[in-house]
């Protein structure tokens, strides 16, 4: 076991971001579904809908940040290199491929569905974006599951 200086105690390290990437990802799909119910609740006040959409946008952007690893400026160069290392780039790419496939499949499904049933634009956008995001995040979470032991 080795120790490393950590002068800024209020800021997360690469290890803590990695830990949250592994644990939080499973929860986010549920959050999106929960927010969807707020956005599309019948007879909801406009302010409630706006709040719901803002919350949805925040979760969506957080997801993209988590999966695709946008620059995290507070981290040292070493931490940034570890967080966005080759394994992470590889699984992000794989997750993105799954997400794009899901986008195409859901899109085709919606196009077919509109032949028989008129589609609400908001609901269609929500379903398309979230379906792809959920698939992406779950794929990422699956590939990034539990840190293996030294000899596993």
């Amino acid at each position: 076991m080795s120790y490393r200086d950590r002068p800024e105690f209020d800021q997360p390290t690469a290890e803590s971001v990695q830990r949250s990437r592994r644990t939080v990802a499973w929860m986010i799909a549920l959050l999106i579904v929960q927010q969807g119910t707020a956005i599309f609740r019948h007879g909801a006040d406009i302010s409630v809908q706006v709040m719901g959409i803002l919350a949805w946008a925040a979760v969506t952007l957080t997801l993209l940040w988590m999966v695709f690893g946008l620059p995290v400026r507070w981290l040292s160069e070493r931490d940034q290199a570890i967080l966005n290392d080759e394994w992470n780039c590889a699984i992000s790419g794989d997750a993105a491929r799954w997400g794009i496939s899901a986008l195409a499949i859901i899109g085709c499904g919606l196009m077919l569905a509109r032949i028989w049933e008129p589609l609400d634009a908001g609901l269609a956008i929500y379903g398309l974006v979230n379906g792809a995001l959920i698939v992406t995040v779950l794929r990422y979470a699956w590939l990034n599951r539990a840190e293996p032991g030294e000899d596993e």
């Binding site: 080795s2 690469a14 990695q18 070493r78 290199a81 570890i82 967080l83 290392d85 080759e86 394994w87 992470n88 590889a90 990034n144 840190e147 293996p148 030294e150 596993e152």
Partner: protein, 68 residues
């Protein structure tokens, strides 16, 4: 054609008494990257292969080879 990348990463690392975490720290990657390369799950880039070879004091050819 069924090809895979063979490696003696674990063997060499153990010889030097390094843990995966320590080797990861030396190459500035996560421990998971080292673990997946050792297990043949992940094929490292040329850059990472060179870093690994340098950290373990061997040539890339001694560390990696193509298994057919």
């Amino acid at each position: 054609m069924n090809e895979r990348l063979g490696n003696r990463l674990k063997e060499r690392r153990t010889e030097l008494g390094l843990t995966q975490g320590e080797l990861a720290e030396m190459c500035l990657v996560s421990r998971k990257t080292i673990n997946t390369v050792e297990n043949g799950v992940f094929i490292p880039s040329t850059l990472l292969s060179l870093k690994l070879a340098e950290a373990l004091g061997v040539s890339v050819e001694q560390l990696f080879w193509i298994e057919r």
